[in-house]
Amino acid sequence: MSSTQQVLGFDRSVAVGRLRRPSWRGRLQGSDTTWAIAFVVPYVAVFFVFVIYPVVYGLWLGSDPALYGLLFSDPTFLTTAINTLLFVAVGVNVKMFLAFLLSGYFMSRSWWVRSLLAIYLLPWALPALVVFTSIHFMLVTQWGLLDSLWRAVTGADGPLFMTSQWIAMTANIVAYIWKWMPFWTLIFLAARMAIPQDIYEAADIDGATGFKRLIYVTFPLLANVYLVSTVLSTVWTLGDFPTVYFVSSGAPARLTDVLATYGFREAFDFGYPRLGVAAMMSALPVLIPLVILLMRRVQMRGVQL
């Protein structure tokens, strides 16, 4: 639980650790240095062979400016870029906001809310491939579960969901929220539990209850966790592959592709790996500021990784 406290800024030991650190410097003696180097060699090797090399190789693959001219003249790519923005902006924010509210609901002590939490975590516990394929099957034909439900309720045949660009895109976003909301709910739940009870008691005496308590006490205390989580989730979601690949798989006619699936198809279905890399690199102008913000934010808080 100390982690949450650090994110929340309650933990003083970080500051103490910082002050103490300089006194340890220079204690490394001859044989210790050898040990230390031997201990970090595996990680450094992995970093160079499997991070630096692919990153540099990827940058090299996507370094030709002509690629970007080609990319931006492709109407499918423009649709893809808009889809990605939509997917990230709506998906991440709705997911985070609902997760934040639901984490309050799961704070309840009653036994049935606790057992509900176990069921609520199921989407997160299962492999993405499995659940997204199931959602795909629910939507894709007139025999899918949603169509059957539609028929049972209205008596008429349901719409063909995957023939509409907007329904398919909505399905992607809803599936994404469905899969990842439980995880972030857990994060917020842990953060809420780390808030000392006496703060609430003091707020209670001052007359802040219910809705006021949420806005003036809980939210300010969780603001940092909320921000870091949102940025982190945005970065990951920009590169989200399985959701769109399995739920709508780009249907209809590649109108619901996002960057990761577009790049994948260009590289492995059509055989233009450079174009695929270029598509993913077009996210860098958004990605880099977010990564810098995230690294600053994490370090400022004293979570020295």
Binding site: A36, V44, F137, W180, F241, G276, V291
Partner: protein, 295 residues
């Protein structure tokens, strides 16, 4: 006078009770909605898996002729996509367990050095890890595919193991560094006075005290490897070397659509991670709050 006071008190008591019932009812209703929301796609999965092949396309909302036939086919490898099912299941375990072992080893050694031996410029290493942590894995898929060919590892389980270890290690370093702070430095010092070298301190003192963090990160790495699809798909191409994830997605290429077999396979594939999640939820919750599971 007193009658009105008593009356208003009774009214406010009634009001309070009514409010509590309303809150309770609303919370029950929300709970009901959440159960439906969480379970529907899973119900769909089970419904298809328990349906006979012809029944899949009947368009009903429950299995009309529930049968275990699909599971029998999967377990006995009685379908051409599933010829190597158990071997692929084994491959998934090999990849998961090896990734777990490597992640724990590399991650704990690195964070031990940075946190306890105070390696000069150790912050470079932690920053490198943080940077790796925030790169979306799918963006490196194309270069990785080429690089594994250059290393001569294509269609080899090691390519997947190494790729996923790369993406799991930063999280491990993150968690271990955090958790390591709670272990008093005095232990290391007294061991040193007793003549222990850094390896002995690592193995005899650091690792045993870190065991909760090791369990959390181990579970994380195992699940990451088990659930991962993109890298598995790109690196592994022959049925003998495939993991279950790749074999499962093969069904989507088929026109014949044996959906019931696919969903039965999916359920078997999803069982180990589910058992792990619920078995180690307590440990994972501790590690969770620091970063998150990369999706």
């Amino acid at each position: 006078m007193s009658a009105t006071v008593a009356g208003s008190r009774r009214a406010s008591k009634l009001h309070y009770r009514l409010r509590r019932y309303l809150v309770e009812a609303a919370s029950l209703a929300l709970g009901f909605v959440l159960v439906i929301w969480s379970v529907t796609p899973l119900y769909n999965m089970a419904m298809i898996a328990f349906e006979s092949h012809d029944g899949v396309f009947s368009g009903s909302i429950w299995p009309e002729h529930p049968t275990l036939e699909s599971f029998r086919v999967v377990v006995t490898q009685d379908f051409w996509y599933l010829e190597h099912f158990w071997r692929q299941f084994g491959n998934s375990f090999i990849v998961g367990l090896t990734t777990m072992f490597l992640t724990l080893l590399i991650g704990s050694l690195a964070s031990f050095t940075v946190g306890r031996l105070h390696l000069r410029n150790g912050w470079l290493l932690t920053n490198a890890a943080l940077m790796t942590y925030v790169i979306p894995a799918s963006f490196l898929a194309i270069p990785f595919y080429r690089i594994m060919q250059i290393y001569g590892l294509s269609d080899n389980l090691w390519s997947v193991i190494l790729a996923i270890t790369t993406f799991a290690t930063p999280y491990a370093i993150f968690i271990f560094s955090q958790y390591g702070r709670s272990i008093p430095m005095e232990l290391d010092e007294s061991a040193r006075i007793d003549g222990a070298n850094p390896w002995q301190i690592y193995f005899r003192i650091y690792l045993p005290l870190m065991s909760p963090a090791l369990v959390a990160v181990g579970t994380y790495a195992l699940l990451l490897a088990w659930n991962e699809y993109l890298y598995n798909f790109l690196m592994l191409s022959t049925p003998e070397s495939m993991t279950v994830a790749v074999a499962l997605a093969q069904f989507l290429n088929s026109d014949e659509s044996p959906w019931n077999l696919m969903m039965a396979t999916a359920i078997l594939y999803a069982l180990p991670p589910m058992i792990l999640y619920y078995g180690f939820r307590r440990y994972m919750a501790a590690g969770l709050t620091m970063g998150g599971v990369k999706g």
